[in-house]
Symmetry: C2
């Protein structure tokens, strides 16, 4: 049984201390955390192997086992991630805008930490390190709660980071890991409004929806990506084919991978057979509507459920439409507001698509796989927001901040 | 019994249409709404007088009755508010930032509407018009749910606005008023995640907390203001006295009014007797800690409850401290993160206060009463956010928007 109130209070107090820590000290601590991870490689691998053994005994799937596994190389990659975060510019203190109002008050809007961030995540233990690095650099305390399969790995990783904080005389409770693997910890975090400023769940779509539906703490929805590529009537098929193949097959398990192809009827007959052939080496399970099946008779008929499903796998469903408007309507009906692309040489169609598609990121003639904080040039990423409040799209350090207005006067009072 | 799903769907559809409406058309519609309000003055006053009669019969307090009452002058003021919103620049379409990444993708972050905004408010029917104007201008559909005392007034106001939308061939469901005065409507809105992008409650602190604690739709917390003025050891008392009097008495019922005075012990003996005398014409009920009572023996002893209470009335509690650190700790413990002021001529104290106070707005040598979208120069205000996510401080048109990334490429695919 965890005392969530105490964890919350400790995090809150640590966040107050953290706000006063200089960028220089924060960066030194991040480098110390990186070194500590590498020095403690053996200790981390011992704990991780216990998690791996339990997971194996419990029949966890091989793909999941691979995500759970920590090696010397993976630990070094986590450490390098922290070193990278140390090099990013500190968002805290940035003056976002400033002006003098009619009353001659000097108004500045300044970037400040959010305070306490709750991260609830599944499987991969590297989230412990990545999230700690980003929340720490942006001046926030973090309360982490990982999946039960990785509990020993998560605890040892958090312990190593906390030890580095302590050695650097910084508040250790800036990083806390909930060590209770039961669901109760998640439940308690979702209602700790007094101490947690925002909750960021990372994991499958069902898990994230559970958090959204039950949390009274503000949530940033991340991740679910039922992404579409629409090949327009005036598409350059020499661009379309590589983009579809890349978006579908380069890494199908991630949220910015393409799940659905929408094709204008004028190019379907030319495109689809070439596409089918090009996808054969990847063993992609193709499904399509009736019109698609008229061109590719061997594939499965797509069901209503297909259109709304994020496969995260080598599966793709195809729909044929007669206009860009029909494509937009279909995509806006079924997408998860993540990333959508149009392939076209038609200027007006490209404008219509970018204006009317409701998604975090809308592409013209590029792969949806670029929706990523690193590819955007943010230097880091804590997730991809698919909601409209606070942050939308890849979230870097700036998205982990709030603002405060500082107003300097000389005795002004309000007359009316 | 209302069909909230149908209301939500209508709002969603209207919001999709609204995104395509030009600034010119939106402004013309706002001017038409203003004219319609004035033309329908008699009709509005008839409905309002029925609300007033019921409220009087039900023993509603005179202050509340005054807030409920609509007159020709007040209707004209609402119309002028809409004309003012028509003159503000349209936030939609603004390119907030843009760059070219390493893959030569042209990335733009563009301001877009949030979608559907839910407003739940108490008493004053002018919120119907003010909120409709701001949400409409920023391209959002709004679902309104006012207090039951003002139900007829709210319905007729929304009807008049909707008629103006219809005459301008714009989607009438951009503005919808829930006409069921039961609490069920509020309950349903708090769980309409499928259609409502954000809920903004306006009203008393208890009401807002009820919404925060129960809503699964994202909420922007507004309004609660337990604001402090701290008079430092090196304050110029010629600035301090007018600021305290202004912050406390100019309009004590509003959220940016001062509720608590914190005074450095070095100046308390000089300041407090002068202050007591200056506040006498306003009949302010003064309360204080033991140290304050040693100087002003006639006043009441403040209780622990006082420190956390927003009076919204001619009441003020006084605490004496021995340092700026003690003042900051007291304020951060009891404030509602709204507006806090320091009065000082000491540069270092001013820096410490602005850096360490956790609030939406922190002042040096000015009245807390300036926390207001109009005074900030935003030209409008839908409320004052006291939370850290999405928006903090006065919310104008920009705070009613989200963003979308538009990325233009020439066939880029992701290599790694």
């Amino acid at each position: 049984m965890i005392d969530i109130e105490e964890i919350g209070l400790k995090a809150k107090n640590a966040s107050v201390e953290l706000q006063k820590v200089s960028t220089k000290k924060k960066n030194a601590a991040l480098l110390a955390m990186a070194t500590a991870l590498e020095k403690n490689t053996a200790r981390i691998i011992v704990e991780n192997s216990l998690d791996m053994k339990d997971a194996g005994d419990n029949g966890v799937a091989p793909a999941m086992l691979d995500r759970l596994k920590l090696t010397e190389e993976r630990i070094r990659a986590m450490a390098d991630g922290l070193r990278n975060v140390a090099q990013l510019s500190d968002p805290i203190g940035e003056v976002i805008r400033g002006w003098v109002n009619e009353d001659e008050l000097q108004i500045s809007q300044i970037r400040v930490p959010l305070g306490v961030i709750g991260m609830i995540f599944e499987a991969r233990p590297n989230v412990t390190v990545d999230a700690s690095g980003l929340t720490f650099k942006s001046g926030n305390a973090v309360i982490l709660r990982g999946g039960k399969e990785a509990i020993r790995s998560n605890i040892v990783l958090a312990d190593v980071l906390r030890e580095a904080l302590e050695e650097n005389k910084l508040p250790v409770d800036a990083i806390q890991m909930i060590d209770d693997p039961s669901h109760e910890g998640v439940n308690q975090m979702m209602h700790l409004n007094q101490y947690i400023d925002v909750l960021i769940p990372r994991g499958g779509a069902k898990f994230i929806q559970m958090v959204v539906q039950n949390s009274t703490v503000p949530v940033i929805e991340t991740g679910a990506g039922n992404c579409h590529v629409y090949v327009d009537e005036l598409a350059d098929l020499k661009k379309a084919l590589p983009i579809i193949i890349n978006a579908k097959t380069q890494r199908p398990s991630v949220c910015n991978a393409m799940e659905k192809l929408v094709v204008h009827s004028a190019v379907a007959k030319e495109l689809l057979p070439q596409l089918k052939e090009a996808l054969e080496p990847f063993n992609v399970d193709l499904r399509g509507d009736e019109a698609t099946k008229a061109i590719l008779p061997d594939i499965k008929l797509a069901t209503e459920e297909d259109w709304g499903t994020e496969y995260n796998d080598y599966i793709m469903a195809i729909k044929i439409v007669d206009s860009v408007d029909e494509a937009i309507a279909h995509i806006n009906k079924y997408n998860t507001k993540h990333s959508e692309a149009i392939i076209t040489e038609d200027y007006t169609a490209s404008q219509k698509f970018t204006n009317e598609i409701d998604a975090a990121v809308v592409y013209v003639n590029a792969s949806t796989r670029f929706t990523d904080g690193f590819k955007f040039g943010f230097g880091a990423e804590i997730g991809i927001s698919t909601q409209k409040l606070h942050a939308r799209g890849p979230m870097g350090l700036n998205e982990l901040t709030s603002t405060k207005y500082v107003i300097r006067g000389n005795g002004q009072i309000r007359e009316s």
